[in-house]
């Protein structure tokens, strides 16, 4: 419960202004506390990111803050290292196909859920969202057992398939929401103007759906890129993705070059997140009823 001043000040702009209320004693105490709390929270959220970024420009061999010497040595180490660049490429090698597979498999499902007439739609939706609630470790062990039996353990394909499964819920959420907002009548309009049905679908609806599909592709890629649990169990030496490489090196001792990698990743992820946000439009601001 927060807000400053009158009740109208704690309500968003759209509601009627000017109504004042009695301020209880509790709110007089809570208001400054609320400001402090939020300031502390913001600091808490941003501190780790800044910490890593600052440390990456140091030259220390230990995780001490603040670093005594500065420089971009860690970055040059990263760009000249075979090991880490290979890990980054492996992450891309796994993540891009996984995201593609998630999008290709998930988009038709969104279409069916949004426009179709199948009887078990709610069940279908639950099924599609189920990887989200599956504890990662349980999924990893389940796949481990099956992969072992079918000799797919420690292969690229196995990991790609697993990551794609993780990405499907995100495709479902993003693309279905977008598809729900594209009126189905647009295709009819196109057909009334002479287009055949496939052309209407392709050039009107799918084109409008494009940004959402791309956003979900990026989102699935980010999920796969960030994935550290599955790859630990299902990936072998040939599937050393970046998280796995960092994980492995963390067990043998700290390597400062990781800080440079982390900062680069932070930057890259930031760009991706902003892109996803822009592609989805200002949907986060509108009430989705």
């Amino acid at each position: 419960m927060s807000g400053m001043g009158t009740l109208s000040a704690s309500l968003p702009r759209g509601s009627r202004r000017g109504a004042t209320t009695r301020k209880g004693i509790l709110s007089a105490v809570l208001s400054p506390a609320g400001v402090v709390l939020r300031a502390v929270l913001v600091i808490f959220m941003i501190a780790p990111v800044l910490c890593i970024a600052v440390l990456s420009f140091g030259q220390e061999q230990t995780l001490e803050f603040p670093p005594q010497s500065w420089g971009v040595g860690l970055y040059t180490t990263f760009f000249h290292s075979g090991y880490w660049i290979t890990a980054l490429l492996t992450s891309l090698k796994i993540g891009l196909p996984a995201a593609l597979l998630a999008v290709v498999v998930g988009t038709p499902v969104c279409w069916v859920l949004s426009r179709g007439m199948l009887p078990f739609k709610s069940g279908l939706q639950i099924l599609a969202l189920s990887p989200l609630i599956l504890p990662a470790i349980a999924f990893a062990i389940a796949l481990y057992g099956m992969y072992l039996r079918f000799n797919v353990l420690y292969t690229d394909t196995g990991l790609i398939l697993a990551d794609a499964t993780l990405g499907i819920p995100f495709v479902l959420l993003i693309v279905k929401a977008a598809l729900d907002r594209i009126p189905a009548e647009l295709e009819l309009v196109a057909m009334s103007l002479g287009a055949k049905r496939p052309r209407a679908v392709l050039e009107i609806t799918l084109r409008l759906l494009g940004p959402a599909v791309f956003a979900s592709f990026i989102m699935s890629f980010m999920v796969s890129f960030d994935e550290a649990t599955l790859v630990q169990f299902l990936g072998g030496p040939g599937q050393t993705t970046l998280p796995k490489a960092i994980f492995d090196s963390a067990r043998t001792g700290f390597q400062p070059v990781i800080l440079a990698i982390a900062t680069i990743l932070e930057f890259g992820t930031g760009i991706l997140i902003v892109t996803v946000g822009k592609l989805r439009g200002s949907r986060a601001v509108r009430a989705d009823v």
Partner: protein, 309 residues
Amino acid sequence: MTVTGSSAATEEDVPLAPVRRRGFAERIRARPGRPMLFGFGLCVPFFAMMAILVAYPVVKLVLVLFQPPGFVSNIRAFFGEELNVTALRVTLVDSLVVTFLVVALGSVIAWSIVTTRRPAVRLILMASVAAPLFMNQIIKVFAFTVLLQRYGLVNEVLIRLHIISQPLSLIYNQFAVIVGMTYYMMPWAVLPLYVTFVSLDFDLPLVAASLGATRIRALRDVCLPLALPGIFATIILDYVFCLGFFVMPLFLGGPSSPFTSNVIYQDITSFYNFSGAAISSVVLLVAAIVIVTAGYVAVGRDRMTRALA
């Protein structure tokens, strides 16, 4: 059946056919036309993928429970091991603590994002909430190691401010795990809570105020009950997420308080004890399913999916 307006005449009486929901049996009996088959066809790759990659492995995993010497004795053996019980307890309790923290703090932030009048404040809050998403799990571990270690940033600041004289032991224990997990889960709490709060009708507290309520009372008795289903759905979602954490408890936690996922990892890598790992996984899975089902029943499907979006 026709609808007539009030006695003030309408131009014509609009005939309405009786409307009723088509029953389940009716829908099945209806001839599946080409559209329905086409729709089903579109979903075939998805069904194949889910069947092969999710349903089959999970079923196989559950079947491990039933292997000799038998279901009951397997369960009994699992709960007989003190490590398993400790890990399970730590997992369930710590996840609960993290969920509570993250929903409480997250709702403060989400409420501020929804109600603040200054766009700068909103931007700062949203950017800070998005911050954890920028970092890989393991990088978060490093960041918190830097911050919480013996001569790390937090201890340094506290010592310089003369709040403490000796560095606190903040890492390699449950405290660090909880802090790290809270950090990780913040965006996953703020986003659904934001969606919940944004869809509240903000005229209602004003109505309450016009009837004499104080600000706190208006918010508590009017807004809170309306937001409660969304908050509850967020709690369910976040708790289930927390159960599956692996990397953070491994690096930030101490040996005396492992998560179930760490015990599983140890089982597989050190002891090659797949059946033990499988049983632990199934226990986690059952816990997740039970909680989500309870949530569905209590809150409703729409709320949950809306919370996720």
